[in-house]
Subunit: 400 residues, 2 copies
C-alpha cells in the first residue's frame, strides 16, 4: 500500500468538531513565558484508542489514562509540560485525577472522558495551584491546535503536526518529543484526531500497527520515557457509517494513520536534542520482523554511528560492528551495506567505493543506511538523528 | 572473598620468563611516531586461555586465535594498532596467518603458538610490508612490557597495566580500550601473564568468571567491537605443581585474576573516549544475576544518565527511567536509588534529600549509583564513564 501525502500545516483541530487552547501557567522553569498547559476537546463523545509506554516505573497520568481508556471512549485531553508527574506515588495519582476533574468541570465532560498527560522532569510533584488556574484560563477555539502543539513542547525546537485526508474524512494531529526518550524532562506524546466514525477495536488495532511502524522505530537516545503516550480521538463529526475492519474507508484510514504517524515520528527524529541530521535506516532480508526492527533500533542508537554521521565520516565499519553484536540471524557472505546509496560492504569484505562522494552525500540533511541480511523476507525502516556536542550540553545542564 | 591489591606499576613482563618489545611501523595514521606493532613472548611454552568478542561479523585475528587456542597452548602474542583487520574476508585471514608466521620465525616458536591481535579501523586491509618490517625490528626485553602496553593503544590517552602477587607467583598484564566498544578504530584487548603453572581447563574457566565480573561490565558507549580479546598466558616459570580447581593457590589465583581484571576494566572506563569521570553502578536484590547485570549495563550506557553525570546534575529521574525500561523483575514499592551515597528515591516517590550536596559530590572523579530492586538475592557492579562533547568530537572526526 502506498501511503498518502501528509499536509504539514494540519493540526489536531483540523478534523471537524475539535477545538483547543493553551496558556502559560508557570510550570516550565525554562522558556519562561511560553505555553505549558493545554486543552484539546471534541464537541461530542469520541471513540478513543491509546498506546502507552512499556516502562514499569509508574507515571501517574499513564496509570490514570489506562484506567480512563477502559471503555474505549473519551472527549478531551489536558496536558502540561515542565513536570512529568512520574515516580510521584499516590500524591501524583491524586494530582492527575484532579487535573481530569478540573478540566472535565470546565468542559462539562465526565472526568473519566478526560485524558491527562504530563511531560517534563521525573520525580517532582505538580504545582497544582498553577495547573488549576491555568486550566481555568484557557479559551478553546477551532484554531487552537497550533497553540496546543506548542504548549506540549519541552526541549523541542519546533511544533510537530500534520494532517491527512481520506475519503470525506480528515485525520490530524501533533506530537512532541525531542527524542522518543529524554532526560530530565520529557516524553513522547502524540495526539491524533479524526472526524471519521471509527469502531474502537479497529481503531485500537490500527493504532498499535501504525505505532509499531513509526514512533516505535524512532530513537534519539535510546531511553524510553515512563510517560510516552499516543492517543487518537475519533468523533465521527463528518458523518457516515462506523468504520470497522473491512468497511469502506478502512484501508484508507489505516494508510492515513500510518502516514501521519511516520511523518510525526520523522519530525521527532529531525528535532532530536542537538540533532542536525535525520538518519533513515532500512533493514531488508531479515529472518523475522523482530530481527529487522531490532537491528534498526540498534543502528539508530549507536553512539559511534551517530557520531560518524554527525562528522559525515563514511566509516561503515561502525555499521558492521553493530550488525555483529545485534544477535540477529544473518549470512555474512550475503550481507550488504549501502551508505547514502553506495554499496560499501559485500561478500564479507570492503568494496571499492568513492569515499569522497559518500562523505559529501553524508553532509546532507538526511543520511540513509541500508542493510540486507540475506536471511529471510522481513523488512523494517526506522529513524534516528546524529549525536552532537549540543546533545551533551542540553542534557548535562538542564535540570539544575 | 576479598580481592588482593593491584600494583599499578605491574606489567605483562612482571611475571618471570616473559619479555616484550614494540616499534613504530607506520600503521597508525594518527599519533605519528608512536609505537604500533608489539610482541610479547614467554621463554617457555604456556598454558593459554582466551575470551573473545561475541560479534558474529568476522575479525580475521579473532578467527585465527580461536583456532590457535584449540590445544590450550601458546607462547607469544603479536599485536598491531591502527587497522583492525576485521570484515576483510579471506585476504584478512591470510594476513593474520602471515603475522603469526613472521613472528613465530623470529621467536623460533611454532606459528600455531603465536596469537595475533589487531585493533583499529574496521574494513581496511593491513599494510603487510610495514607489519613484517615492524616485527623484524622489535627487540624483546624483560623490561619491554611498558612499550608493549603503549603500542596497543588507539584512542587511549594512557597505558593501562598492573600486577598482583599470589603465594610465590605473579600475575601481570595490560589492556587497551577507550571504551569496550569503539568507533572506527578500536577494540578492547587485554593480555595477562603469570609465572604460575596452571591447568588449561581451570585457567579457561576462571578467565570466563573474571571477565564476566570485569570487562563484560564495563562500557564506554555500548558498541561491542568485533575484535575484543582477552588472553592469559601461564608459563609456570616460578615452579611448583600445576594448579587445578581445589589446588593450593587455586582460590588465590582466582582472586588475583578477578582483582586484576576489575582493575584494568575500571582503567578502561576512566579512560573512556572523552571521559572525565568514572561511574560505578551497583545493583542489589535483583531476582537473577542476569537481571542485575542487564540493569548495570543499561545504566552505564544511558545517554541521558551519562550526560547528567557529566553535568553533575542530580537528576535521578533518569535512573528511574532506565529501571523502568530495563525489563527486570522488581517491586516498585521496594525499589531504592542512592546517588553518591544519598537516598533519592524510595517507596515509589522522591525522598527529600540535599540536592546541593549531591550535586557537589557528583563533581568528584567517581560517581556511584546504587539501585536495590527488592526482588531477590543477585548483585552486580559495573563501570562506565560520562558522556562529553569531546566524545562526539573524537568520533565525528576520526576516520577521515
Amino acid at each position: 500500500v502506498s501511503l498518502p501525502e501528509v499536509d504539514p500545516t494540519g493540526l489536531p483541530t483540523t478534523a471537524r468538531g475539535f477545538s483547543a487552547g493553551a496558556t502559560y501557567a508557570g510550570i516550565k522553569t525554562f522558556g519562561e513565558g511560553k505555553l505549558d498547559v493545554a486543552l484539546l476537546a471534541s464537541d461530542r463523545p469520541c471513540t478513543v484508542a491509546g498506546v502507552f509506554t512499556k516502562s514499569v516505573m509508574h507515571s501517574a497520568p499513564v496509570d490514570l489514562d489506562r484506567d480512563h481508556l477502559d471503555d474505549g471512549k473519551g472527549q478531551a485531553v489536558v496536558v502540561n509540560a515542565g513536570v512529568a508527574n512520574a515516580s510521584t506515588g499516590s500524591r501524583g495519582l491524586e494530582d492527575a485525577r484532579t487535573m481530569s476533574l478540573v478540566a472535565g468541570r470546565k468542559l462539562a465532560v465526565d472526568p473519566r472522558d478526560v485524558f491527562v498527560c504530563s511531560t517534563g522532569v521525573i520525580g517532582q510533584f505538580l504545582p497544582m495551584d498553577r495547573i488549576e488556574k491555568g486550566i481555568a484560563a484557557i479559551g478553546l477555539t477551532p484554531e487552537g491546535g497550533d497553540d496546543f502543539a506548542r504548549a506540549i513542547m519541552t526541549t523541542d525546537t519546533r511544533p510537530k503536526h500534520g494532517s491527512v485526508r481520506f475519503g470525506p474524512y480528515t485525520l490530524g494531529g501533533c506530537c512532541k518529543g525531542s527524542g522518543m526518550i529524554h532526560p530530565n524532562m520529557a516524553t513522547m506524546l502524540a495526539f491524533l484526531t479524526t472526524d471519521a466514525p471509527l469502531d474502537h477495536h479497529f481503531l485500537q488495532a490500527e493504532l498499535h500497527h501504525a505505532v509499531d511502524r513509526s514512533f516505535n522505530l524512532v530513537s534519539v537516545d535510546g531511553d524510553t520515557s515512563p510517560s510516552d503516550t499516543v492517543l487518537v480521538l475519533a468523533n465521527g463529526a463528518a458523518g457516515g457509517e462506523v468504520i470497522h475492519r473491512g468497511s469502506p474507508y478502512a484501508a484508507e484510514f489505516s494508510a492515513a494513520l500510518e502516514a501521519l504517524c511516520i511523518y510525526l515520528a520523522k519530525e521527532v527524529a529531525r528535532d532530536g536534542e542537538g540533532a542536525t541530521k535525520l538518519i533513515e535506516v532500512t533493514v531488508t532480508s531479515a529472518s523475522s520482523l523482530e530481527d529487522a526492527r531490532r537491528l534498526v533500533r540498534l543502528l539508530t542508537t549507536s553512539y559511534l554511528l551517530k557520531s560518524a554521521v554527525h562528522g559525515a565520516d563514511p566509516n561503515w565499519g561502525r555499521i558492521v560492528a553493530v550488525i555483529g553484536r545485534a544477535e540477529v540471524r544473518l549470512r555474512e557472505e550475503l550481507v550488504t551495506v549501502d551508505l547514502c546509496g553506495q554499496r560499501v560492504f559485500q561478500a564479507g569484505q570492503p568494496t571499492t567505493f568513492d569515499e569522497a562522494a559518500v562523505a559529501e552525500a553524508m553532509k546532507r540533511d538526511t543520511v540513509t543506511i541500508a542493510v540486507d541480511l540475506g536471511a529471510g523476507p522481513a523488512t523494517a525502516t526506522g529513524w534516528g538523528c546524529d549525536l552532537t556536542a549540543e546533545y551533551v550540553s542540553i542534557n548535562a545542564d538542564y535540570h539544575t
